[in-house]
């Protein structure tokens, strides 16, 4: 029996490794696609500015609250929505089929197509139909299904799947499109975009005129009126809903809102978030069997055959049943989470997605609606930088949901190698002794700089394209007892949480934090039993080890004895703030976790809170550009304090870099898993830094510091990277 189990575990691991190396190959292919890099890269780069402009005069936050409100109402009343919609649509002469599975939905459509003698179908974009494998199934039945959206048409000719939810053919250039069109039309097509668009119009016009059936996807379905809405730019949606005598809508239960006016919130954000347009060329609203020309020769008119297939499959019900994922119902499929994602901008949706859904939200949709296995692979592509949350039209907690997916899969399919590393980290003594060994065993300095090219043990594999720092010869825990803290009038006491990087790499920084706090009247303690904060374990979905580390640190820090806890690493601060979620409310551990979380602050925030802001400094000119850490800016909401501290420091001039809050690509363990994605993200950051011509990059996160220093070093750029605490200590002469 044991042998059998081992065999199974081995097979599972082999399969996981195979999938993982396949994904690596996909990543390399995507990175090699120069069209994708150029087009998607440009799009993503200009997106934030264009998006903001489209929102001028619009209360984005207010609107997203409204979207949340109307969509969550529909989610809470989903059975009522289905019933009301069905009644109202049927009252107006439409037919509604409630499909309890994708198979059931597709079978209904097959029969309908057969019964009505449908030979050709024109289809405007419908992602739900992709879930049904609509084109494939009907194609096998001998029905001609024509995708009419230009992008969908192109990828159908290519035999590919969408690279982006809103712009499906971004990976192809005009030359490739011309080749596809030439092959299809048997007439030479020139690689001129306006000409290609004309070809598409000509080819499709014929199909629109002769098609027996039109198929549409809905952006919104209104229960109280039985109205379905479709938003398009090309006008293909209009043609599909205007010419054929049979019109079929396919949409999932997540498209419902209760009242007609509820739809307006969605159409306010959908075009702005999706394509940076204030509105698209067309919004079409169909209610029941609307009018159509039955015979163009006699000009006879009458109601069309109008069908709605509502997809209510087990996957969608599973989303509603899981409290952590239920909010996915509120997604309006605008694709904004893709457009701001640094990893998506590099690899696109063929890598970061499945054959139907792409990007951040696409990862969850893939998990529930398309393929659990695929989701398990791509969920690791997320950097957890949190940019998607800022722009999400419905305010979805996308990074948190991806984290939950990781937890789910870590529970279901533990990966032994990763597990070993995380077990080791959560065993404080083992981890610390590994780091001590590493400090002795590591390679000598390179280029006279304190960087090493190869890190030992589980940290190896980190180094491509970057240099990594030395592990300190003497860890901070051994330096701390030798420090003399001169604080004449003690205002209070603070415990420092070092985290791995301060304790074992940046020991000078740890000392600077203490000197800074001493200078404003606070004594700092360094509890020796503290361990890794647990962030790496959480990132990889290993809740068990994350909880274990939380327990160790709650005990070790003993927050009850201090006024505050200071951390100079925002990822540690963020993690400590999460501690209460690991324990049941009402328990002693939960209570202590809350105390610790409430007393813990990041350095800049705490230093300003305690009166550290002062017009001091040596007055020596220092041009500083500031890089925002993802956790500090987006999770902890701190971005002004450190800028105030720096700009008040005599001699310091701040020059902002472009996209200062764009991730540096470090992402904790991310750069270990996907160095090939992390490296170009870093390259982009370095470019933005270079452009400022600053003397020094200020950061508040030792992870970012390590990443950016490594990036500068690898490119021989003699620019310094310093933590805000260090700049304060140096400029105020505290060292």
């Amino acid at each position: 029996m044991a042998v059998l189990v081992d065999e199974k575990v081995r097979e599972e691991q082999e399969l996981q490794q195979k999938r993982s190396s396949e994904l690596k190959q996909e990543i390399h292919d995507a990175l090699d696609n120069t069209t994708l890099a150029r087009t998607l890269g440009n799009f993503c780069k200009t997106y934030p500015g264009r998006r903001l402009k489209s929102y001028e005069g619009i209360d984005f936050e207010g609107n997203r609250e409204k979207i949340k409100e109307v969509k969550s109402y529909a989610a809470d009343h989903v059975d009522e929505m289905i019933e009301k919609f069905t009644t109202n649509c049927e009252k107006r002469g439409g037919h509604v089929f409630h499909a309890h599975s994708t198979e059931e939905g597709m079978e209904f459509i097959r029969q309908l197509v057969k019964e009505k003698g449908v030979k050709t179908i024109v289809k405007s974009k419908s992602m739900a139909s992709e879930e049904l494998k609509f084109n494939h199934v009907l194609g096998d039945d001998g029905v001609l299904v024509q995708e009419t959206d230009l992008g969908e048409f192109i990828i159908a000719l290519e035999g590919n799947t969408p690279v982006h939810m809103v712009m499906p053919a971004l990976h192809l250039n005009k030359e490739q499109v011309a080749d596809l069109f030439t092959e299809y039309t048997k007439v030479e097509n020139k690689p001129i975009i306006s000409e290609e668009v004309k070809t598409a119009r000509k080819v499709m016009r014929e199909k629109f005129i002769t098609a027996d059936m039109g198929v549409s996807g809905a952006n919104v379905a209104v229960a109280e009126t039985g109205t379905v809405f479709t938003m398009t730019n090309e006008g293909n949606g209009r043609m599909v809903g205007t010419l054929p005598k049979i019109h079929l809508y396919i949409f999932g239960i997540e498209k419902f809102v209760d009242k007609f006016e509820d739809a307006r919130y969605i159409f306010k954000s959908l075009p702005r978030n999706g394509t940076c347009q204030r509105i698209t060329s067309y919004i079409s609203m169909y209610t029941g069997a609307n009018e159509v020309v039955l015979d163009k020769e006699t000009d006879e008119k009458g109601p069309k055959d109008f069908y709605c297939v509502i997809l209510d499959d087990p996957g969608r019900r599973a989303i509603l049943a899981e409290p952590e994922f239920r909010q996915m119902y509120e997604c309006i499929r605008c694709g904004a989470c893709l457009d701001v994602c640094p990893a998506f901008a590099l690899v696109g949706g063929h890598v970061f997605g499945s054959n139907v859904y792409t990007g951040g939200i696409g990862t969850m949709l893939t998990h529930f609606l398309v393929s659990d296995e695929r989701a398990e692979q791509i969920q690791n592509i997320c950097l957890q930088c949190g940019r998607c949350k800022e722009v999400c039209a419905a305010g979805l907690q996308i990074p948190e949901m991806i984290m939950k997916l990781r937890e789910k899969s870590a529970e279901e399919h533990p990966n032994n190698i990763k597990k070993f590393a995380l077990d080791a980290v959560s065993d404080r003594k083992l981890f610390h002794s590994m780091l001590r060994i590493a400090s002795v065993a590591q390679a000598p300095f390179t280029k006279g700089q304190p960087f090493i090219r190869h890190l030992p043990m589980f940290l190896s594999g980190l180094t491509e394209g970057r240099s990594f720092p030395n592990i300190a010869k003497v860890p901070f825990r051994d330096i701390f007892p030798t420090m003399i803290q001169k604080v004449p009038e003690v205002k209070g006491n603070i415990a420092m949480f070092g985290g791995c990087l301060l304790d074992f790499v940046y020991t000078d920084l740890a000392q600077d934090v203490i000197l800074d706090l001493n200078s404003i009247g606070y004594k700092v303690d360094f509890p020796m039993d503290q361990a890794c904060c647990g962030c790496p374990a959480s990132n990889m979905g290993d809740v068990e080890n994350a909880r274990k580390e939380a327990e160790i640190n709650i005990e070790a820090m003993h927050a009850e004895d201090y006024d505050y806890i200071v951390s100079a690493c925002p990822s540690c601060t963020h993690q400590i703030r999460q501690y209460p979620t690991f324990f049941e409310e009402g328990t002693e551990m939960h209570k202590r976790a809350v105390t610790l979380a409430e007393k813990t602050f990041d350095f800049a925030k705490l230093f300003v809170m305690l009166g550290g802001l002062a017009d001091e400094g040596d007055g020596k000119e220092l041009k500083v550009t500031y890089h925002d850490s993802c956790h500090l800016k987006r999770s902890l909401g701190v971005f002004q304090e450190q800028r105030d501290l720096l700009s008040h420091t005599k001699g310091v001039e701040i020059v902002e870099m472009q996209d200062s809050d764009q991730c540096c690509g470090f992402g904790g363990s991310y750069s270990v898993l996907y160095p090939e994605i992390s490296a170009p993200i870093l390259a982009n950051k370095i470019e933005n830094i270079k452009e400022t011509c600053a003397d020094c990059v200020a950061v508040d996160c030792p992870g970012c510091m390590m990443q950016i220093r490594g990036g500068l070093d690898a490119r021989d750029i003699p620019m310094e990277v310093k933590h805000t605490a260090t700049i304060i200590a140096e400029k105020r002469g505290l060292r």
């Binding site: 087009t39 107006r92 959206d149 230009l150 992008g151 192109i154 712009m167 499906p168 053919a169 971004l170 192809l172 250039n173 005009k174 499109v177 975009i193 306006s194 290609e196 668009v197 598409a200 119009r201 499709m204 016009r205 629109f208 005129i209 009126t225 109205t227 730019n233 090309e234 006008g235 293909n236 209009r238 043609m239 809903g241 205007t242 010419l243 007609f260 006016e261 739809a263 307006r264 394509t275 347009q277 204030r278 509105i279 698209t280 060329s281 067309y282 919004i283 079409s284 609203m285 169909y286 209610t287 069997a289 609307n290 009018e291 159509v292 020309v293 163009k296 020769e297 000009d299 008119k301």
Partner: protein, 183 residues
Amino acid sequence: MSMITDELYECFKTNLEAVGGSCVRSSKAELGKTVANLFKGIDIADACLVESPLFAEAGVKAAMEAAGIETHTDHIRLHGETDKGGISEAQYGIAELGTLVQVSDNIDARIAAIMPEYYIGVVKGSAIVPEYDEMFFKLAQLPEIPGFMGFITGPSRTADIECVSTIGVHGPLKLTAIVVDDE
């Protein structure tokens, strides 16, 4: 019903032009001539016209025919396949977006607005509302939602190839709104 203010008209026009459409203003008496001139201006020889009380009163069809434009008011579905022009009346407009709003299940009106290469949408100045939200409330308050309602904002467009914005895909390549002064 009151006349459209200059300010509201300018707002509508600016926003429609921003998305590649064009906009002119006309009195009821001049409407027929305005339409004919627009069509003739880009050599449109044949067009679908969807009759409405406003068009009948203003004599739009007669003016078009007088200008030598072959004008079809029936069998629109058939003629829409070949006619280069299309004209119909939209029920409302939204100034802040430059949007024409169709509130009618009349299939001919939908065909005339989507099939031909050049579409002229006529809207009464008094039917232009300043804001999108207001339009939605108006529609929501209708005693019954018609089988079809639609917003049209500029000509059809795409950015599906290399993200390059290109005007004129399956719908009109050109679009003009004529705002008619009611009184």
